[in-house]
């Protein structure tokens, strides 16, 4: 196992190198000048050149790349051209907000999806089932930028129940945090909630027709026990897989949701940085995302070996 891990880590090095080249190169191919973009009303060439010089942007691209790589391997992602903030600090500041939003959305879509999906399966073709199916179609069809604005209109402007946006840190004010997260979490979870409800319903309907359910009922087991112990346990396996895949989709969706509700997360940072060609921030976020994926792939493989002893990495070629 140790040899396997070492080999995987060594193999990660060239991939990581390739990622750094892509992260650095892609943005440079896009037209636009970050210094000019952020110079606002200042266009004096002398000042702009001084800014380019201080950022190292007047150097040839290979020199810029080597300098950036050198700093990056030491954990220094540089400073944002737009805000002058250290990039690592900028990401660390915003990550909790994004994780909190995606976590809340995931929690909401799983729990509600499970409850409504189960009830829908148990009361097939009932009014509840029809309502759930309609909501499913709506959830998948309505884009979150539209849904977000509609929720603000209804719950903030008309009913005055929730604030129209903004963030309050959980540690500072848990109640205010809860109030502010409801609408963005609902917006973000709409599509995944619909999929989860549908998946739970169809999985359960499929399981209900299985022999072992008939057997459980035939031997006199109570309906609740049949559903919870037999049907749900088996029916949820594909749901769990789908929920896992939704994590990535939620993080992607958070980019738009954060814009609507001015939620100060990583998504908003990435969008603002991309539009303005803030090279250091975009490079760092792309690189960190790629490295996170590579690391987690390695961890998954290690966990597999631990979960299933039949998988032996020592024999892997």
């Amino acid at each position: 196992m140790t040899r396997y891990i070492i080999r995987r880590v060594v193999l990660m090095v060239p991939v990581a190198f390739l990622v750094t080249v892509i992260a650095f190169g892609l943005l440079r191919l896009a037209p636009g000048d970050p210094v000019l973009t952020f110079s606002g009303d200042v266009r004096d060439p002398e000042i702009l050149n001084a800014m380019r010089h201080s950022l190292g942007l007047d150097q040839p691209l290979p020199v810029q790349y080597v300098a950036w790589l050198g700093r990056t391997v030491q954990g220094d992602f540089g400073r944002s051209i737009r805000t002058h903030q250290r990039v690592g600090e900028a990401i660390v500041e915003r990550l909790p907000a994004t994780l909190e939003l995606t976590g809340a959305a995931l929690l909401f879509s799983v729990t509600v999806g499970l409850i409504v999906g189960t009830l829908s399966a148990l009361n097939r073709n009932s009014a509840l089932d029809l309502l759930a199916t309609s909501l499913t179609i709506a959830g998948v069809s309505i884009p979150n930028f539209f849904l977000g604005v509609m929720l603000i209109l209804i719950f903030s402007l008309l009913l005055r129940v929730f604030p129209p946006g903004g963030y309050a840190p959980l540690i500072d004010d848990p109640l205010e945090n809860l109030r502010r997260i409801v609408l963005p979490a609902l917006t973000l979870s709409a599509a995944t909630l619909a999929v989860n409800m549908r998946q739970v319903r169809s999985s359960l309907l499929d399981v209900f027709s299985q022999d072992y359910i008939r057997t459980a009922r035939a031997k006199g087991l109570g309906e609740n026990a049949v559903i919870v112990k037999h049907a749900l346990k088996n029916g949820l396996i594909p749901v769990v897989t789908i929920v896992g895949l939704q994590v990535g989709a939620l993080i992607e969706g958070a980019i738009i949701t954060e814009q609507i509700f001015f939620w100060p997360g990583v998504g908003k940072l990435v969008v603002d940085s991309l539009l303005g060609r803030d090279y250091p921030v975009v490079q760092a976020t792309v690189l960190i995302s790629a490295l996170s994926y590579m690391l987690s792939t390695l961890l998954v493989d290690i966990v597999y070996g631990w979960l299933d002893p039949r998988i032996s990495y020592s024999k892997a070629r």
Binding site: L95, T241, L245, A284, S289, S292
Partner: protein, 552 residues
């Protein structure tokens, strides 16, 4: 097998991302632990401080000292350091935190601020400022002539200073005594005072700058002398400004300012969401309202909307460089003739703004209400002018920033108006960053559609856009007569002489040999909850929140 692997990978990605970035540095937005509140200062003696006009309060609502006002801003403040600031939006915070040497009153007249008075030498090359005494920065350090010299030298000599160009006419500052600073100028330079109103004249604490180092521009805590103290800045979320109890200013009745205890500034880029925050009561102040929303807010009884003529303008920027279509000046004039400016304002700007023909706005001393060179659209005359050039029909690329449907609608109406004169404007949308790059490199093929926020002195709206080779002269315009007149107005010390030169120059760069096609002046807006009192919009669109109070 594959799906389980992807599932675990997704979950672990999120966690691993957190771990990796955690190595990159910690968040720190709080003021440095060593910074303390400045010791209480006696209020400036009555009569010494210029009093500030506070507009009449709404009938039936008594103003109360204290309270927190939430201000929703169209973008986050980027640079708290006036030296590095390049964005208009930054100034909304600067004016609350920092005092500058001089300021303007609501009519645009330069008034004393940190400088109580000033004298200009007969040759116009020396300006001596007498400074307000007993003023301290929020960190407790003293504001004096040494501080003025240090600030101005920092602004004009630091390599990356965005103020360097503005202060180029300043050769140096002499400290005459603790409360007297003398500016030595390379040449007489009338717009100096208007520049010292803004960021080039804002005073920051040397101690705060040196303590924060590179982070100063994001963490300028307790660095100004202004009515409010910056105490917290969480990027893309909020900025907290707290009352400076020792501020020297007072209102007409002699009451100490500011009245509010705290200001929270929240950046909200979406104009609809900004407006919703005001309507729900989550915010009480905004100063940038989309034209499409103005009718709605005027009819909302919980909101108070005010607007006055502003300093900003809208124009079509042609590339007049040799080798490009608009090197032919008659084409630019034909476009100016074909535009129906009133229709543009009525239909594309929802009636917000006024017809404009040049750079000198209503609030400028050099404005001439009778200057209406293209009052009625004349597509036939435009056709004749294009025909006189003798190169066939006029067709060009019209670059419009992408991402804002309102901008596209405006461009489409302009396109339709030009079509009446058989002028074919082919709209192409590009990211603003790309348009800016093409403008700056003078390589755009036809015309771009980019506005200007405006400056309190007409020179700030005019010089850099029309003078040969200046940085903001995106149209590569060059006319020796215009250059001469613009230099003349800079050197003249009296407004009458300046106005004459500016008016002559405007006649040339708008009509005789046009550098652009101007069509609109913007407005300075102010939208508040009806609870907010004491505020009036300024032409420069920046709020002076020291005057604000909240009704009980």
């Amino acid at each position: 097998m594959t799906t389980r692997r992807e599932f675990l990978t997704s979950l672990l990605s999120a966690g691993a991302m957190g771990l990796i970035v955690a190595c990159g540095g910690g968040a720190a937005n709080q003021p440095p632990a060593s910074a303390t509140n400045p010791p209480a200062q006696p209020a400036a003696p009555a009569g010494a401080a210029p009093t500030q006009a506070a507009p009449a309060q709404a009938a039936g609502k008594a103003a109360a000292a204290g309270g927190t006002l939430t201000f929703v801003l169209e973008n986050d403040v980027i640079d708290f350091d006036p030296m590095l600031s390049r964005a208009f939006v930054d100034r909304n915070a600067h004016y609350q935190i920092y005092d500058s040497l001089v300021r303007v009153d609501p009519t645009g007249k330069i008034i004393p601020w940190l400088a109580e008075k000033w004298d200009t030498s007969t040759d116009g090359k020396q300006v001596t400022f007498t400074l307000r005494k007993n003023v301290k920065y929020h960190d407790g350090t003293v504001f004096d002539a040494e501080s003025v010299k240090w600030n101005i030298d920092r602004y004009r000599t630091t390599d990356a200073s965005a103020r360097k160009g503005e202060l180029a006419p300043v050769a140096g500052v002499d400290v005459v005594d603790a409360s007297t600073a003398r500016f030595n100028l390379q040449t007489p330079f009338s717009p100096l005072y208007s520049l010292l109103v803004d960021r080039a004249g804002m005073m920051v604490s040397r101690k705060a700058v040196e303590a924060a180092g590179e982070d100063f521009t994001r963490k300028a805590f307790k660095a100004g002398t202004g009515p409010f103290v910056l105490t917290e800045a969480v990027k893309d979320d909020h900025i907290t400004l707290e009352k400076n109890p020792d501020w020297w200013g007072q209102d007409n009745a002699g009451n100490k300012l500011p009245r509010l205890d705290k200001i929270i500034i929240r950046p909200i880029t979406n104009s609809d969401v900004r407006l919703t925050n005001l309507r729900t009561g989550d915010a009480q102040f905004a100063n940038n309202i989309a034209p499409k929303d103005v009718a709605t807010v005027k009819n909302d009884s919980t909101l108070a909307y005010k607007e006055i003529p502003g300093l900003s303008y809208g124009s079509l920027v042609p590339n007049r460089k040799e080798g490009f279509v608009f090197n032919e000046g008659r084409y630019v004039k034909a476009i100016s003739m074909a535009l129906d400016r009133q229709e543009l304002i009525d239909k594309a700007f929802f009636g917000v703004g006024t017809v404009g023909y040049g750079t000198i706005a209503h609030a400028h001393f050099a404005f001439d209400a009778n200057f209406k060179p293209f009052e009625k659209p004349d597509p036939e005359a435009a056709k004749a002018l294009v025909s006189a050039v003798g190169k066939g029909p006029l067709s060009f690329e019209f670059l419009v920033p992408s991402g804002d449907p309102a901008l596209l609608q405006q461009a489409q109406l302009i396109q339709a108006q030009l079509r009446k004169a058989d002028i074919d404007a082919q709209i192409a949308q590009l990211e603003f960053a790309q348009i800016l790059k093409q403008q700056s490199d003078h390589v755009f093929k036809g015309i771009t559609y980019v506005g200007w926020s405006g400056r309190i002195d007409p020179d700030g709206n005019t010089y850099d856009f029309n003078y040969t080779g200046r940085p903001l002269n995106d149209s590569s315009y060059s006319n020796p007569d215009v250059d001469k007149l613009l230099d003349e107005q800079r050197a003249a010390s009296d407004e009458a002489t300046r106005k004459t030169a500016l008016r002559k120059a405007e006649q040339i760069f708008v009509v005789d040999d046009p550098s652009r096609a101007w069509f609109r002046f913007g407005v300075a807006q102010q939208l508040t909850s009806t609870k907010v009192q004491g505020l009036a919009p300024y032409a420069d669109q920046i709020p002076r929140l020291q005057l604000a109070s909240l009704a009980k």
